[in-house]
Symmetry: C5
Subunit: 108 residues, 5 copies
């Protein structure tokens, strides 16, 4: 399970039948100090998350379980929570959206 | 599950019996800003994807389920969708093929 | 399973029902010589770990098992131990907290 | 599932009983343009692959299934095919062995 | 499954009940040419491996199986073999311990 930011949405007409009707969001893992990464994942959304929100993402079997037995095949990544906030060591605060973060200045 | 581009195909005569008759495509994960990576995966194709198309790829047990019970062993990576488009933050648009992308210029 | 440091906590009101009542901690993998990484994971805590403590973290199915059958869906990362110490080659000692480490100076 | 090159063999007398009689090969993931990586995996060989050959490698549960029910514990990585060739975009061709590759010159 | 070196041991008094009585070793993945990495894993030892020895490590469900049904929860990484040697391409030889390696000089 990891902290991530919703950065977009994917549309696919030709797809595995079990993906029908599911909302597919593009998420980017959160790195300390809000450092940027080019890596993304596509997660099924069961929570109603919006672009810009910080979320909890699970992978593997847990993801398929989170969406429900009716959709137990064809994906392995899901959003399971929208965070209110995360408090990290060194005064770093991850807010509900990227705009609400409070990242301490690094002295070095 | 992740966004990827189909970049090729693999042929193998000597192989695990459960791989017989399956189309094996080489896929490359999509990175923000269409940055290039040297990493690839080999995915079983159940959708009829073509080289150059952007696809959704799953790994693990979900991949074996997506291909059907008749082929439930011997692989753990499958293409489960061909994307129409993905809209990402900052105006980045991942098109159905690499040629149809719209990547904003980076100012820095 | 890997060594990690608890670096924070996450709160989420809108979440997967199976995450209700679980304590969600942010953990950072330990790297040799206490090198820093920007990567974090969110782990369910079943041990009562505190921020700053060094812990053992498991992923996947083992994580869901560690928390108990009552919570067998929705996550795949758990804290399964608080370490007393780890003795590594080259005289490196990982203490119970980051403050109690003893990292040998590197000559190069 | 990924493309890899067989780069060696491992011998182990003291081992998990379920590994007895299995051939353990060291494989290195193939990177675009035949770039080198220092990472390797150890895979159980069910195909009769030789050092230098390009192979298909699976991980996880699929690997244990590929070797057969008689050996369903103690490993999670297997060779499931020896490739004839892979044709990649940009004219890159991965041959049956490293010597038979055809990698286009990069202009940049 | 991968080649690794045992680089230390971990002690934890407060831990998941299913970890009781298990020996927890810190292992570092082997990289070609004996290059160093800062990454480590913690593996349950079922073989009686010593610090400095080269071992085979498995992750996931295979790890839990290797330790036995009596301990099938709470971890997902195990040592399943102590290697005698590995012969790699280019004349590289991984010995039973780090001291017994034979790494060819790189000309570049």
């Amino acid at each position: 399970m990891y902290l991530a930011t919703v950065v977009g949405q994917v549309w696919a007409t030709r797809k595995e039948a079990t993906l029908s009707g599911l909302r597919l969001l593009v998420v980017q893992p959160y790195l300390r100090g809000n450092q940027q990464t080019a890596e993304t994942m596509v997660a099924v959304d069961s929570i109603g998350a919006d672009v810009g929100e910080r979320v909890l993402v699970v992978m593997g079997r847990a993801a398929r379980h989170a969406i429900g037995k009716g959709h137990d095949i064809g994906f392995q990544c899901a959003i399971v929570g929208v965070i209110d906030a995360a408090e990290l060591s060194g005064g770093e605060r991850v807010g509900q959206t990227a705009e609400s973060d409070r990242i301490p200045e690094r002295s070095s």
